[in-house]
Structures are given as structure tokens and as C-alpha cells.
């Protein structure tokens, strides 16, 4: 018996060894070959809802983009072009927007899309009984009228420069369908199984936490689409997503930094690109105690090793950031002179402010330690590594900066570091929209004092010049004039350091070589009707 067992174990071991030998050379074909005409991409989590303006997750955008067409859309050259609208004009005082609608536009049930749907959409976005999350700008709409079925006029209460990126690009809802549903049905996801849409694809099947399958909308009125089926499969783990790419189960997907070394496995079948995205990572110093002092924030800025973070932690999947406008974009200020990484200058600046080394080699002033804990979310490994790198750099000049990780709900929650009255620094990612509105980020009217207070000025930054500029940025009608405003804002950001900008994300992305017409831009991709699988 014993001999038999030994031979079994030996057999298993030799099989294992043979297997591992095979691993070296083996890159097997996928178990199931991808049929032509089906495009599969991964989502990191299940969308919360597909009901217009009710979701709160980034993953909602992909599926919803297939189902919905708005008045206008941003093309691959970052220019606004008509979608449901064929043309539009703005009144000279910037208070009235008039859109001519495409008479061919239809809903997926075959009913025509008319100006009444746009009027109903206005009522929808301003209905306080609905659980809406994305309603930016609708409070400035005074009235929506329809001189005829194919013309719609928006009258504003004040000039509102982000109109195109908020109201005109919002999803349109079908009046003939939504008016028959109750508030409760709308709030509780009835739309997910009864969607009537105006976009190029319709939802065929949604299996929660597994996949969402889309097929062409038979009543699509725009340019014809070429892909017969688009599937979003829900895969939470990044390495599992990568493994699905390697085995050919996905048509496209991101390559996380930890899997970059294996990217050569993808090259025979995939194109690899590294597009810049409109997401930046940053550290928000909460302006309490010493952090109210601009010189202290400037010292932290000097002591933050951006280049090293980009090179060693992110493996160059990013570009360093010094402001909140996308590099190379229309509103980006190319004349910025950012602070270089210099611990010497940082230490000298702190010394000039009266900080001296004390117990444990840490910096003190008036008997109080310069203690700035760095908080970040526990779910993103790179954020944790970056926080540690920043902490080490700051500690070299005597700033006590321990790293704390927690769930985002805690980091931003009522009893979290934002509201404990102490000096803290929060490390997280933030998106920049097509329209570069900084009001809620830097205007003192939007300083966050409680979890429900209206604003995202988490840093509690209060600067009268910034207040003035942020108002101008959303009300000046001239785009050129607004660009000057945003250039000044970026200059002020460097001078006064409300935020320590770290980097813009530029992740590697793979898409199958048989996918044609696909391109990524800063704010999106080429339209789906340009894509084909050959």
C-alpha cells in the first residue's frame, strides 16, 4: 500500500513537473474561440442602474452610452457635434439655446422622438421625488419650450457656460413611456428590464454580476452599426481581467501596472495603446492648523516625488500633474512653472516658517508637531504604494506622515478624517470633465463641513481671487475669455497649492487586432458605429 501511494505521489509530481515544463512554452489558444461579430469588454463591477441620471458608478457609462443618444455629443476631436440635434444656436446674451431636432430620430419602440420628449426630460431632471444623482446645471434652466415638434428652446436663469457638457449632453427620456410609470417604478429599477431607448443598441439581457448583452436597435435612426453583439462581462479582479484578455475572452481591456511585464503575451493578437485619460490623482491637504499656511503647503509640494512615482510605481503609465486641466487640452496652461522635487527647498521653507527639529527628529513649531497623516482607499494597491512613497519623502525632512488606509466610505464619511478637526491629507483620484468647471472644487461657497453639505471643496480652500475666477469660468460666454480664466486658475493652483497634484492617468490598453475603427480620446472613444470586427 505504502509503495503504491509513493508511486502515486511520484506520478503526480512528475506530471506536475511535466506540466510546468509545458508552461514555459505553452500559450494555448482560447478554450472558446470568439465568434466574429461579438465584442466583449470587462466591467470591474455590476452597474447599479441603467435608468438615466440615477446611477453613481463609472461602469454605468459604457452600457448607457450604447443605449442613449443626446442632443449633442463630443466627437473624437473633442468637438461638439449634433446627435439628436441637427443644428443649434445660442442667443447673444447666452440665456437661450435653440436646437433643431433630427426628424428621423425615433425610440426603440418605433415612436418618433419629438421636442415633447425634451420638455418631459426637463421635468424628469428637476423632479425632487426621483433618486437622481446627475443633475448638474438643471437648476439654472428656467423653461423649456417647443415652438414646433422638431424645435426645442432652453431658457436659462443666468448664463451657464457648461450647458453643452451638462444639459445638452444629458440622456433624453421617452415621455410616452416614463409618463405612464410611477415614481416608485422609476426609483426602483423598473427601467432596467423595460428600457425604451433612442441609441444604437438595446439591452437584450442583463444577468446581475455576470454580463450585459446588447444587440443593435432595430429602430436606430443614425449611422448603421456593424457589430452584431456587444457584451459587458463583470470581472472585479484586475489580474483576472488580464487573464481573460490573454485567453482571448475579451476584445479589449486595460492592463494594470502589475501585469505590464506580461504584455508581450498580448502583442500577437492585440494593439496596445497608452491613451491619456481625464483622471488625475492628487493629495488634498485639509487646511487645518499648520496646513492653513501657504508656505507649508508649498513645502509639501516641493517634497512630493512625482517623477519617481510615475517611473517606479506606475511604470510610466501616467504623466506628472501640476494642475487640474488635461495636458495638451484647450484649457491647459502651457506656461506653468511647477515646483521641482527638492527636499532641500522644502526643508528650508519650513525652517523659514519657524519649524525646528525636536523629539524623534520630527518638526515642531510652538511645541506642536507637524503631523500630517496620509489617508487613502484600501482597495487600490497603487494608491497605497504612492501614499507610502510620499510619506517616506515627507518624513525625510521631519514631517510625521503615517499612512492610513480605509474604505472610501470611511475616508469621505462623516466620522472620517475630513471632519476630525486635525491636519490630514487625502490621496485619491478625481475626474476632469469636458467643461473645466472648478467651482465646486475651489470656490469657498462649496467648502465641505458635513457629509451632506453642498460642495466638494474638501480642502477648505478659501481665496477671494479663486472665488471670482471660478464664477467667471462658468458665466463668461466667450470660450477664449474662459481659457484665460482657467490659465489664471492653474497659476493660482501652483502658487497657493490648494491641492498637491500627482499625475494624470495614462494606462496601457489592449484592443483586438480584428477590431477596426476603434480609437480612444481623452474623454471617450470613436462612436460605436465606426467600429467593426473583421
Amino acid at each position: 500500500m505504502q509503495r503504491k501511494l509513493i508511486s502515486i505521489v511520484a506520478g503526480a509530481l512528475s506530471l506536475g513537473l511535466a506540466g510546468s515544463g509545458a508552461l514555459v512554452s505553452a500559450f494555448r489558444a482560447p478554450a472558446v474561440a470568439a465568434p466574429s461579430g461579438t465584442l466583449v469588454q470587462a466591467l470591474s463591477q455590476n452597474p447599479d442602474t441603467l435608468t438615466p441620471a440615477m446611477g453613481s458608478l463609472l461602469v454605468d457609462d459604457g452600457p448607457m452610452g450604447l443605449m442613449n443618444a443626446s442632443l449633442i455629443r463630443l466627437n473624437q476631436h473633442d468637438k461638439w457635434v449634433g446627435e439628436v440635434a441637427t443644428s443649434w444656436k445660442v442667443s447673444s446674451n447666452g440665456l437661450q439655446y435653440t436646437f433643431q431636432l433630427n426628424p428621423k430620430a425615433k425610440w426603440s419602440d418605433g415612436r418618433p422622438l419629438t421636442a415633447q420628449d425634451l420638455i418631459y426630460s426637463w421635468h424628469y431632471y428637476t423632479n425632487p421625488k426621483l433618486h437622481l444623482t446627475y443633475t448638474t446645471g438643471w437648476n439654472y434652466v428656467k423653461n423649456v419650450t417647443a415652438p414646433n415638434p422638431h424645435t426645442v428652446v432652453y431658457t436659462m436663469t443666468r448664463p451657464y457656460a457648461p450647458f453643452k457638457s451638462t444639459i445638452a449632453s444629458a440622456d433624453i427620456v421617452p415621455a410616452h413611456v416614463f409618463s405612464k410609470w410611477t415614481v416608485s417604478q422609476l426609483n426602483h429599477g423598473y427601467y432596467n428590464t423595460h428600457a425604451v431607448v433612442n441609441g444604437p443598441y438595446i439591452l437584450q439581457k442583463w444577468v446581475p454580476d455576470q454580463s450585459l448583452t446588447f444587440v443593435p436597435n432595430p429602430n436606430w435612426w443614425g449611422q448603421p452599426v456593424h457589430i452584431k453583439k456587444i457584451v459587458f462581462t463583470v470581472i472585479p479582479n484586475q489580474t483576472t481581467q488580464f487573464n481573460n484578455l490573454v485567453t482571448g475572452q475579451l476584445t479589449m481591456g486595460s492592463i494594470p501596472p502589475q501585469d505590464l511585464a506580461q504584455v508581450s503575451q498580448l502583442k500577437p493578437h492585440f494593439n496596445i495603446i497608452r491613451p491619456l485619460s481625464a483622471v488625475y490623482n492628487q493629495i488634498t491637504p485639509i487646511e487645518v492648523g499648520f496646513l492653513k499656511n501657504v508656505a507649508v503647503r508649498q513645502a509639501l509640494d516641493y517634497a512630493t516625488p512625482r517623477q519617481q512615482i510615475v517611473k517606479y510605481i506606475l511604470k510610466n503609465q501616467a504623466v506628472t500633474a501640476f494642475g487640474d486641466q488635461v495636458p495638451g487640452g484647450y484649457f491647459y496652461n502651457p506656461h506653468l512653472k511647477p515646483r521641482p522635487y527638492s527636499l532641500t527647498k522644502a526643508a528650508a521653507l519650513l525652517k523659514s516658517q519657524g519649524f525646528k527639529k525636536g523629539a524623534g527628529g520630527w518638526l515642531y513649531k510652538n511645541g506642536k508637531q507637524l503631523d500630517i497623516p496620509i489617508w487613502t482607499g484600501s482597495t487600490v494597491a497603487t494608491d497605497v504604494s504612492i501614499a507610502q512613497a510620499v510619506s517616506q519623502a515627507w518624513q525625510k525632512i521631519g514631517i510625521h506622515a503615517p499612512v492610513h488606509t480605509a474604505g472610501w466610505a470611511f475616508v469621505f464619511g462623516g466620522k472620517g478624517p475630513q471632519f476630525n478637526g486635525k491636519m490630514e491629507a487625502l490621496l485619491f483620484g478625481w475626474g476632469q470633465g469636458v467643461f473645466p468647471d472648478d467651482t465646486i472644487d475651489f470656490n469657498s461657497k462649496y467648502i465641505v463641513t458635513s457629509p451632506t453639505s453642498p460642495g466638494e471643496n474638501v480642502e477648505r480652500y478659501n481665496n477671494p481671487l479663486m472665488n471670482k475666477l471660478t464664477v467667471e469660468g462658468t458665466t463668461l460666454a466667450s470660450r477664449k475669455a474662459r481659457r484665460q480664466v482657467y490659465w489664471k486658475i492653474q497659476q493660482l493652483e501652483i502658487q497657493t497649492v490648494p491641492i498637491i497634484f500627482l499625475y494624470w492617468q495614462k494606462s496601457d490598453f489592449a484592443y483586438a487586432k480584428n477590431l477596426h475603427g476603434y480609437q480612444q480620446t481623452v474623454f471617450g472613444t470613436t462612436p460605436v458605429w465606426d467600429w467593426s470586427l473583421r
Binding site: 494555448r28 472558446v32 425632487p128 472585479p236 469621505f412 457629509p451
Partner: protein, 317 residues
């Protein structure tokens, strides 16, 4: 015995009430809240936060919200998810069958291999086999499931191409039993391995303790075959501690396996509850905790009742 069962159920009602009260209190004490996630979203307008707080009832004190939740529950309404807006029971109903399939399979693997393995090594104490399997058991027990899962995925799915990487069905083909079984092998094995190793160790020590008892010696003296001695006389008595462990493991069948489900993209309860914890989706969290508590009570009751089947000396009145 039925009287005993009814008595235990009645005793469980105040316990469950207390569990919900304490967990609701602790949940609200936990830093963060349902609106925290919206604060981390640049697309959510600042004024929207206040409207959402009012709609979700978050401006009311926690005890008022608790009694409103309890009142709804007693009327059969488990509430709605703060984030998807869908009924909590529907969310659970969509995922529970998947969890039962995964947990049931891993349970079969653990039980089907772990118990015979435990018996085998106990009856070959200090032999080479005992040393090899003991080493393997501790190794498997100590192996983190996320690492082991990714390792198996890389070998069997990526390199060898024998099994699918993740998911429950292929997105390219209509769902079928064959596909389900293919997708089930890796996650079920990864999930079952820890219990397999643990239960085999419990079984080994259980058998070793029993085979030194007088009644086993008597059975052997009567001339019974070793197989009969072990499988008929020793096993029944050695099973008692295992039954307790399995009873306590029952809530895990509902809660799912968070890490394994994440790695293999298995659409089960573990992922639902993990996201509800991260998002502070209180209605989903409460449902999960309540059902978990009920299953713990039921699991213990079933374990107690099984004792009487295995050991006639234990009787409930």
C-alpha cells in the same frame, strides 16, 4: 423532539431581534455613510447630496430608521438598495442560487475528500502517507485563497487552456450544464481546499481518539473486520465534532466566499455583501446580517438534532 425544536425557535426570536438592533446600531456607528460614495464622484452635483439624504431618510436619527426598517420587515418588505434602487430580496434572489451551487460543490469536495482522507491518515498514523498528507493539509490550510486562486487560474486557464478563466458561463455560448461544470471546477476547488484540509485534520484526531476506546477494542476482539470497526463503530462517534463545525459553517453558504468570488468573477452573495459594505448600503447589509444570523441559529439547531441521530445517548425532550 418537536417540542424541543419549537422551544429553540421561540428562544431565537428575541435573540434575532437583539442581533438586528445591535448590528443596526454598530452599522451606523461605523465611520462613513451611504452618501460618502457620492462625495467621491465628481459627476454628482453638491446640492444633490442633500436631496438624496432626505430621500433615503438619512436625516432621521438611527433608532427611528431602525424601527422603520423593522416595521417594514415585519410587513414582508425588506427594503430597497440605496444604490440600485432594487428590492433587497430581488438582489439576493438573483445571487443566492449561484452561491448555493458554488458552496455546495466546494462542500462536496471538502466532505468527499476530507473525511475519507482524515480516516485514512488516522488509520496509518506516523506512516509516510500520514506525514505527506499532514504536510499537504497544513500547506493547503495556510495558503491564501487569493494567491492559490490566481495560481490555478494562470496554470489551468491561461497556460494550459483546459479550463475557463472566470465567470459562470461563457459569454459566447448559450448557458449549459457542461459549461457550468467547467466554470465551477477551479473556484469550487479553491474554496473547498481550506475546509478539506481542516476537516481532514479534525477527522484524523477524532478517529485517533475513538480507536483507543474500549468499545473499539471490544469490536476488534469480537473478530470484526478492520473496515467494519472503523466505518461502522469509530466513524459515527468521531463525526460529532465535525457535525458541530459544519453546523457553524452553514451561514457561510449564504454569505458566499468573498475572495474566491472576486477572483473567479463568480456572481454570488459574497460580492453583493462586499459591495454593500463598501457602499454602506444599509438595507442590503441588514438583510445579509439577518439572514446570516438566522442560518447560524438553524445550523446550530440542525447540528444539535444530528447529535441525537449519531449518538442515541443524546435525547431531546
Amino acid at each position: 423532539m418537536w417540542r424541543y425544536v419549537v422551544q429553540r425557535i421561540l428562544e431565537a426570536i428575541p435573540l434575532l431581534f437583539l442581533v438586528t438592533l445591535v448590528t443596526y446600531f454598530l452599522m451606523n456607528l461605523t465611520p462613513g455613510g451611504p452618501l460618502s460614495l457620492y462625495m467621491h464622484n465628481p459627476k454628482v452635483a453638491p446640492q444633490t447630496l442633500h436631496v438624496l439624504a432626505l430621500q433615503m431618510g438619512l436625516t432621521k436619527p438611527w433608532y427611528v430608521r431602525y424601527f422603520l426598517w423593522l416595521w417594514s420587515l415585519l410587513h414582508g418588505n425588506w427594503g430597497y438598495s440605496y444604490f440600485s434602487g432594487q428590492p433587497v430580496l430581488a438582489l439576493i434572489g438573483q445571487r443566492l442560487p449561484n452561491t448555493l451551487i458554488l458552496m455546495g460543490s466546494s462542500f462536496m469536495i471538502s466532505l468527499g475528500i476530507g473525511i475519507p482522507l482524515g480516516i485514512y491518515v488516522a488509520t496509518h498514523q506516523y506512516s509516510l502517507q500520514d506525514h505527506v498528507f499532514s504536510f499537504a493539509s497544513f500547506f493547503a490550510w495556510a495558503m491564501p485563497s487569493f494567491f492559490f486562486g490566481l495560481l490555478l487560474q494562470t496554470v489551468f486557464a491561461v497556460k494550459l487552456g483546459w479550463l475557463p478563466v472566470s465567470g459562470m458561463y461563457s459569454v459566447y455560448q448559450p448557458p449549459s450544464l457542461g459549461q457550468l461544470l467547467q466554470h465551477l471546477i477551479l473556484p469550487a476547488f479553491v474554496l473547498g481546499l481550506g475546509s478539506l484540509a481542516g476537516w481532514s485534520r479534525y477527522m484524523r484526531s477524532g478517529i485517533l481518539e475513538v480507536i483507543r476506546q474500549d468499545y473499539i477494542r471490544t469490536a476488534r476482539a469480537k473478530g470484526l473486520s478492520e473496515r467494519k470497526v472503523i466505518w461502522k463503530h469509530a466513524l459515527k462517534n468521531a463525526l460529532l465534532p465535525i457535525v458541530t463545525i459544519i453546523g457553524l459553517d452553514l451561514p457561510g453558504f449564504f454569505g458566499g466566499a468573498v475572495i474566491t468570488e472576486q477572483i473567479f468573477a463568480w456572481p454570488g452573495m459574497g460580492r453583493l455583501f462586499l459591495s454593500s459594505l463598501n457602499e454602506r448600503d444599509y438595507p442590503v447589509q441588514m438583510a445579509g446580517l439577518l439572514i446570516g444570523a438566522i442560518l447560524l441559529v438553524v445550523g446550530n439547531l440542525l447540528a444539535d438534532l444530528t447529535y441525537s441521530l449519531l449518538d442515541p445517548r443524546i435525547q431531546y425532550r
